[in-house]
């Protein structure tokens, strides 16, 4: 090693100047760098850039997808909330309607019942009236017959003649009514 340094130092002054380049070395560096640069431009950089771009796209695509999913989820939530609100409103409306309807039905029923009872009452009145009328009529005839028969038996004379009998009965009844009126007074 010492021998080398000494031999290098003892070479000519021009060769010892470190700033003077060796042209062959320059050529080799130039050629070597050119080859490397070509490989880098042609293969290395495109390959790495492609991966970088793909990776960025994958990440951004993932983010976009997640954002979309989130947007969809919140939209669905909104929709559900809206539906819930609608359903509540619907339920309220139906309840209100039912209540109103129920009240109406009740009123109608009451009305109908009242009408029915009125009708029944009226019918009963009419029936009672007619029955009373019939009773009065039948009573009148029966009482007349009975009284006449009775009077006939008592008097011992058959009052067969209807006209006469009726006159007698009428007179008798009129007397009764006069009597009654006098009593009532």
């Amino acid at each position: 090693m010492n021998q080398l340094i000494i031999s290098a130092a003892t070479e000519g002054a021009a060769a010892a100047n470190p700033l003077v380049p060796n042209l062959w070395e320059m050529g080799v560096v130039l050629a070597g760098f050119a080859v490397l640069f070509f490989i880098v431009v042609k293969f290395v950089v495109p390959m790495f850039e492609k991966t970088f771009a793909e990776r960025a796209e994958a990440i951004e695509g993932g983010i976009a997808k997640a954002e979309k999913a989130q947007a969809e989820a919140s939209a669905a939530l909104e929709e559900y909330k809206q539906q819930l609100t609608d359903a509540r409103a619907e339920a309220n409306r139906i309840r209100e309607e039912a209540r109103a309807e129920g009240a109406q039905i009740l009123a109608e029923l009451k009305e109908k019942a009242a009408a029915e009872s009125a009708r029944i009452t009226a019918q009963a009145h009419a029936q009672i009236e007619s029955e009373r009328q019939a009773a009065v009529v039948s009573l009148r005839s029966e009482v007349g017959t009975l009284a006449t028969t009775l009077a006939g038996r008592i008097v011992g004379e058959t009052l067969e003649d209807d006209a006469r009998a009726a006159r007698v009965v009428d007179r008798f009844l009129a007397d009764l009514e006069t009597q009654n009126a006098g009593v009532a007074k």
Binding site: N2, I5, P18, V20, G32, F37, I39, V40
Partner: protein
């Protein structure tokens, strides 16, 4: 100052170790990234993850942060190639047996700086036409009477000094680091050979220093690759947005 060539063996000018290492670096970088990028999956495996982390570092931390906008992707291949080409060629200096950063010879650094120089001037002209040279050398908002001083300074700093510092920064740090490690190695060898036991013992101190320097060099090797690429990105950004500077 050049090591003797491998082919023909020992010749001053021939196929040198540097040249072999440069070619090897191209093979290493291309193989690694082609393998890492070969089976691309959305969920990366270990190799793909390592490749993506390395690629993403240049793409996002250098190209996107410095150049920005939608244009940055056009310059990623250049920045990416530069970063890993320089990184691997520098790291050679920290690998035992190889132990030679390719850019400890100035030729490679000149070539890369020249590529960058041509690139950013080309971008500036493409973007702004020949007006680019006015934009790059005449700062806006400077009083007219200062311009005669400012314009030459701008021309010198932007168009003359910039490529020189860009290349020499890389070359000088690599050469210096290489020299320090080699001198330490020679020094240790020299001291170990001494008859005097005490003198022989001092080689341990040099060894400790050499290890510390080695660590520092390893850091600088990675750092210089980053600095070179970062400056490239800054130059390109300056050329792209010359009208707003």
């Amino acid at each position: 100052m050049h090591l003797p060539a491998i082919l023909p063996w020992g010749a001053a000018d021939g196929f040198s170790k540097q040249m072999l290492l440069v070619i090897l670096s191209v093979v290493i970088i291309a193989t690694f990234f082609l393998l890492a990028a070969r089976k691309q999956q959305l969920v990366p495996g270990k190799l793909q993850f390592a490749g993506e982390a390395a690629y993403g570092f240049v793409r996002n931390s250098i190209a996107k942060d410095i150049i920005g906008g939608r244009d940055f992707i056009k310059y990623v291949p250049l920045l990416f190639s530069l970063f890993f080409f320089i990184l691997v060629n520098n790291i050679y200096g920290a690998i035992p047996v190889i132990q030679l950063p390719s850019f400890s010879h100035v030729g490679g650094a000149y070539v890369l700086a020249a590529i960058v120089y041509v690139t950013w001037i080309g971008i500036g002209i493409k973007k702004n036409g020949l007006r680019y040279f006015k934009l790059a050398t005449v700062p806006s908002g400077v009083p007219v009477y200062i311009l005669p001083i400012v314009i030459p300074i701008e021309i010198i700093s932007n168009f003359l000094v910039r490529p020189v510092t860009h290349s020499l920064r890389l070359f000088a740090t690599m050469l210096a680091g290489h020299l320090i490690v080699m001198i330490a190695g020679s020094g240790i060898e020299y001291l170990v050979m001494q008859e005097n036991v005490l003198l022989k013992g001092t080689s341990v101190l040099v060894l400790a220093g050499a290890i510390a320097m080695y660590m520092l060099e390893a850091l600088i090797m990675a750092l210089q690759a980053y600095v070179f690429t970062l400056l490239t990105a800054i130059y390109i950004e300056g050329a792209l947005h010359a009208d707003s500077h």
